[in-house]
């Protein structure tokens, strides 16, 4: 049985809607629950899920609640959904929302005239225009939303450059401004390093790795991954680099991302070479090699942080790199103790940059890696739900997030996939990331550990589980507590994503 209810002219953000849907789906007797705005795309998804939409009249301004399951519980599910919308059960005590929320941007500015940045996380089709409005009113922008068209991104960034304002994003999940964590970000000390990042979880990993070495970060300016593509031309990377090089408080500058378009890379290299402070370039798996004139070239995230930390502490960079080599040696020993394992590697990731880095490392040690976001087009998975040989999947990609919460918030899809992978007798190692901090699942290790234990019930000790935690002890989820939950479930937990990817590969390589 199914029931549909339309709430006219009612708007909630997508994360709230998906969280409520998840709560309702977990009710006894409910098969499926969906809360979405009445856009054409959403109506198509509902129809595909088997809901009968004949005779309903909705606009994109109306909220549609759809539930299916046992008849007796459907009314209760609908009223629970409305109750949760009005009063979300996950809101922390003391975290009550303000009673007055201005409806217009001008209203918001009159409440906080000193505002200097707008954080935008509305649906991508509207986000670009909202960003333009904010820029016109002289506000810097952090654009969390994805699905902003490339042409719109270029328009926004050109306007921002003209006005001398920052636009972080689109698709910028993480930023740090004077140590403040914005979006999905970690609690780390403030200090002499600043980061420009065209890579969201890459920024989180470097931020956390610096903190692990006792070095703080002042700013972490996200630019959105597309910024370094030829079409955008690195507008924001260049602008942020420029501003941070001029900033007396910044002692060491770090620039990270996937390898940029060659002309963008050249521009960044030239600019930081002219600067008067040491800079570390961390383009993951990049072609550039060799340090030069105060510019240090790295190809992995932990390496980038280790070099930047050494520079900040006035220590020898060569020594910092040597330490990473000896850490690699201990990983080999650890692999010898827990391996060798036979079969394929399966990587299940929530962080896009971490997934990319894992592929770069595993490819070197194991050969071709299949993925939904492969390093080479011909290794693209036909179906993201079905692994092939060595596979590393990014669960943060569109095919997993349309109508679902991001895997850093909802870990259930990955926990379920552990069991599916365990049923494949060819699998020897499962590798995954656990990203914590503000904006992420409040206790991801618990649900992931349950998945690991279920998978072990299927596969026994045939499969080794390897993970890393991107986070600190100061984060709300507490990295040490997350680690012990995973270790109790028999997971080998490494100090960084790069180390986890190496250990997973060594376990199979022998």
């Amino acid at each position: 049985m199914q029931r549909l209810e339309v709430m006219p002219r009612t708007y909630y953000d997508s994360i709230t809607l998906m969280r409520v849907a998840k709560e309702i789906t977990s009710m006894e007797g409910i098969e499926n629950a969906s809360l979405s705005m009445g856009t054409e795309a959403n109506l198509r998804i509902l129809a595909a899920a088997g809901f009968d939409l004949s005779g309903i009249n909705v606009t994109p301004n109306d909220l549609v609640i759809a539930v299916s399951g046992e008849d007796a519980v459907l009314d209760e599910a609908l009223s629970k959904a409305k109750e949760y919308l009005a009063n979300p059960p996950w809101k922390k005590e003391g975290g009550k929302s303000e009673s007055y929320k201005p409806r217009s941007l001008d209203g918001a500015i009159s409440v906080l005239p000193e505002a200097n940045i707008a954080m935008i996380s509305v649906a991508g089709r509207y986000a670009g225009d909202v960003a333009l409005d904010c820029l016109h009113r002289g506000l810097n922008v952090m654009l969390y939303s994805d699905n902003v068209p490339l042409e719109k991104e270029i328009e926004i960034k050109k306007l921002a450059r003209e006005k001398g304002l920052f636009v972080m994003g689109p698709d910028c999940g993480t930023a740090i401004v004077r140590g403040v964590a914005m979006g999905m970000a970690n609690i780390c000390p403030t200090g002499p390093v600043s980061i420009v990042a065209a890579a969201g979880t890459g920024l989180q990993e470097v931020h956390v790795q610096l903190a692990k070495r006792g070095v703080g970060t002042l700013h972490g300016i996200g630019t959105g991954g597309r910024d370094v593509r030829a079409e955008v031309g690195g507008i924001m990377v260049e602008m942020a680099t420029e501003r941070l090089l001029e900033d007396d408080e910044v002692e060491v500058l770090v620039v990270i991302g996937k390898p940029p378009a060659p002309e963008v890379e050249k521009k960044i290299l030239e600019r930081i070479s002219r600067g008067d402070k040491p800079a570390v370039l961390g383009f993951i798996g990049g072609e550039s090699r060799g340090d030069r004139d105060g510019v240090y070239i790295c190809t992995e995230l932990e390496e980038t942080a280790a070099v930047a930390a050494a520079l900040a502490k006035g220590e020898d960079v060569a020594e910092a790199r040597k330490e990473l080599d000896s850490a690699e040696e201990s990983l080999r020993e650890l692999a010898g103790k827990h391996g060798p394992r036979k079969g394929w590697l399966r990587g299940l990731y929530s962080g896009g940059t971490l997934c990319y880095e894992a592929q770069v490392i595993a490819k070197e040690l194991l050969g071709p890696i299949h993925s939904n976001t492969p390093l080479k087009k011909d290794l693209k998975l036909e179906d993201s739900l079905t692994s092939v040989e060595h596979t590393i999947v990014d669960f943060g990609e569109d095919e997993f997030t349309q109508g679902r919460l991001h895997p850093m918030i909802d870990v259930s899809l990955r926990a379920g996939r552990f069991v599916e992978e365990a049923k494949d007798p060819g699998v020897g190692v499962i590798l995954f990331d656990v990203v914590i901090g503000y904006g992420c699942n409040p206790d991801p290790a618990r649900e992931l550990a349950e998945g690991v234990l279920e998978a072990k019930a299927v596969a026994g000790d045939r499969i080794a589980f390897v993970a890393s935690i991107c986070g600190t002890e100061a984060d709300p989820q507490n990295a040490a507590r997350q680690r012990s939950i995973l270790e109790d479930a028999g997971v080998l937990v490494c100090e960084s994503n790069a180390r986890a990817a190496r250990l997973a590969s060594y376990l199979l390589k022998g």
């Binding site: 606009t59 994109p60 929320k101 918001a108 500015i109 000193e114 509207y126 001398g164």
Partner: protein, 58 residues
Amino acid sequence: MNERLQDLLKNGPKVINIGVEQFALDLKEQEVPTVQMDWRPPQVESDLLSKLKKLRKK
């Protein structure tokens, strides 16, 4: 340098949050001045309403 950018980098963020309210709550926990905006998508007329308007014009 643009004053608002300079203020952002020197004095820290003061935020207008447009969208997911959790981000505003996380910022307030860090004692960041934050205003949550009650943003709504631009109004789109329902098919019925636009048909009625057309009829009225005739």
